[in-house]
């Protein structure tokens, strides 16, 4: 299991800290709006607290009290106002929480950013590491290396490259728990945030799933994927993952 702090971060994305409400964090990626110099909560990179606080402020500007809305209305409000988390943002904050708990350091100071090619970019990245950490950053060899399925443990990442209908999307999934079942099958539990093709505003966002490693010698896509109680071709995420040109499990150097 990951540390308590990382678990809490996961729980907060799965159920945002709106008092007495059950709202899971929607998916939002800044590629659509291309906001620059914005609050990270508005760029798909906020923590659960950032998102809730920003939702409160946005609601005030519209003369509403967000805490008086129903869970569904809050969800709609978040989606309409571009408040959510993208895949790399979610992974970033969970790993950051894990690092803070384990090694008392932040992920921003530990990661190597391949785009930091000049002084200005280095300064920008130093000030805003969350916004500049994407799938390529995590997949960079200086940050992580591929590992075999038999070696998977908590904190590892599943990286999907060139995925999606047009093979132009990158996606990252965090393995938050591993265990062996009664019949010695390795069970991987993962967390990620995604907006799958065909999903409505009520469905996309942070979620969890399970991969049962039936045969460790076979590729990941030939294992058993279960998400939202759907398996096989009924599992939308599995269908999405199948479109990836490469799918690998990586281990971050900072968590070694």
């Amino acid at each position: 299991m990951l540390s308590a702090a990382a678990q809490q971060m996961i729980n907060d994305y799965l159920r945002l800290p709106f008092p007495s409400k059950d709202v899971f964090c929607p998916y939002f990626i800044n590629k659509k709006n291309k906001l620059r110099g914005a609050l990270r909560a508005l760029a798909g990179k906020g923590t659960p607290e950032d998102i809730v606080a920003e939702a409160q402020i946005c609601a005030l500007k519209e003369k509403m009290n967000i805490f008086e809305l129903s869970s569904l209305d809050i969800r709609k409000f978040l989606v309409d106002h571009g408040l959510g988390i993208d895949c790399s943002g979610l992974v970033y904050h969970i790993i950051d929480a894990e690092l803070q708990a384990r090694k008392k350091t932040s992920l921003g100071r530990t990661l190597h950013f391949p785009t930091a090619t000049n002084l200005l970019k280095k300064i920008i990245i130093a000030l805003r590491p969350t916004e500049n950490a994407n799938v390529y950053t995590f997949a960079d060899n200086k940050n992580s290396l591929p590992i075999p399925l038999s070696d998977i443990k908590n904190g590892d990442l599943i990286i999907l490259r060139d995925t999606g209908p047009s093979h132009n999307q990158q996606h990252i999934v965090l393995i938050h728990d591993t265990e062996f079942s009664a019949n010695s099958i390795l069970i991987i539990r993962y967390t990620h945030s995604i907006d799958l093709p065909g999903e409505t505003w009520q469905e996309h966002g942070a979620r969890q799933g399970v991969i049962q490693i039936i045969d460790p010698d076979k590729p990941l896509l030939e294992q058993r994927w279960i998400e939202r109680e759907k398996t096989g071709t009924d599992n939308k995420f599995f269908n999405y993952a199948k479109t990836a040109r490469t799918i690998q499990v990586h281990r971050l150097h900072c968590l070694n």
Binding site: R40, D50, Q56, L60, K61, N65, R128, T130
Partner: protein, 376 residues
């Protein structure tokens, strides 16, 4: 310790005018409130989004421009009874100029139209493609001004009505420049030095000019920003101007002492009607005018470096806005739930009364410390 007869006389004069100012203000405050209601000069939702905070909803419909009570009373009494070329012309003149700026802003916020300025990208495109060469040339020459306008937008929160931030900054710069001209060229050599505690006078020469402009602009905006809760600006200004009155009396500036006590007296009447639930609010007319006057009076008695103490809570408020802006653009995070900082405490659950009174007390403590240091 015995006080000299002259100093006692100055003190008596100052208290007398403070009381007179208070009585005059109390006398015409109900008339002002009535006038403000008659002309519908009231706070409304479109330009004040904080009215959506549950604890602030009742403020919608409260008259603004209540600061006129202090500005008009003090200006009138000073012109009639304390009009001294050397020490009161310019402070009152700059106060009225700043108050005029604030008053126009208040009125435009109610009756004005939304004005948008061109974005930098739009301007640059016009420079490249506009069919008229002279228009392209003009846009190119004025591009630094356009850049200044867009950058200054970061520091404003207006929905487009009222005087824009760059216009305010320009007019405040003019007010600060008038003050600097008066201090540097009219008051004499002594005022080109700044009093540093435990050290004495340090000669700044012409460097004092940008310092004066900076402090006048900063203080006017600081009081403006702090005027966001019932009684906050009024009560804090009473403390500050009382301290200024004491310091100016101790240093022998009779006219400025009387001016400060007039302000205190009038502010007492204003704050009586401004504490929660407020009968009126100060508006920019009062906050900008009194903020400028605060800075000028401190500078005139050679206590410029004590402004961070004398105007402590105002600088904290404006500082919180600056920190919030930098946090937003540099770090992508909100440092406070909302700026200025009094809204942050409000959103944390503090009642307005608790926030205001605690700010008063904190301000009074720091002002006392400032007075104590100034005595050295």
């Amino acid at each position: 310790m015995l006080i000299s007869t002259e100093m006692l006389h100055q003190l008596q004069l100052a208290f007398s005018w403070g009381i007179i100012s208070c009585v005059v203000s109390f006398f015409w405050a109900p008339l002002l409130i009535k006038l403000l209601y008659s002309y519908n000069i009231v706070r409304s939702n479109p330009y004040d989004s904080t009215l959506s905070i549950e604890t602030r909803r009742h403020k919608a419909g409260t008259p603004i421009m209540g600061g006129l009570l202090v500005i008009v009373t003090v200006a009138t009494l000073t012109i009639l009874f304390n009009w001294e070329r050397r020490f009161t012309w310019v402070p009152i003149g700059v106060m009225c100029l700043s108050a005029l700026l604030g008053g126009v802003d208040d009125l435009l916020n109610i009756w004005g139209k939304v004005r948008h300025s061109r974005t930098l990208g739009h301007t640059w495109r016009l420079i490249k493609v506009h069919q008229s060469f002279f228009t392209r040339l003009w846009l190119l020459i004025t591009f630094p001004w356009t850049l200044f306008k867009r950058i200054s937008l970061w520091f404003g929160s207006h929905p487009g009505r009222g005087i824009h931030v760059h216009e305010k900054l320009l007019l405040q710069f003019i007010a600060g420049s008038i003050t600097a001209w008066w201090i540097y060229f009219k008051l004499g050599e002594h005022w080109r030095s700044v009093h540093i505690p435990l050290d004495g006078l340090v000669h700044f020469g012409w460097l004092i000019i940008p310092l004066i402009i900076f402090f006048v602009m900063l203080t006017a905006n600081a009081v403006n920003v702090a005027d966001g809760m019932d009684g906050l600006a009024g009560g804090s200004l009473i403390i500050t101007f009382s301290a200024l009155a004491l310091l100016s009396w101790l240093n022998g500036y009779t006219n400025i002492t009387v001016l400060n006590t007039m302000v205190v007296g009038s502010l007492l009447a204003y704050t009586y009607f401004n504490i929660k639930p407020a009968r009126f609010q100060m508006g920019d007319v009062g906050s900008l005018g009194l903020g400028a006057l605060l800075a000028i009076n401190a500078i005139a008695i050679n206590k410029m470096l004590f402004l961070p103490f004398l105007g402590f809570i105002f600088y904290v408020e404006v500082g919180s806005v600056i920190v919030q802006i930098f946090g937003r653009y540099l770090l992508g995070k909100r440092i406070f739930k909302m700026a200025p900082i009094h809204h942050h405490f409000e959103l944390k659950g503090w009642s307005e009364e608790k926030t205001v009174m605690r700010f008063w007390i904190l301000h009074a403590i720091i002002v006392l410390i400032g007075i104590w240091i100034a005595l050295y």
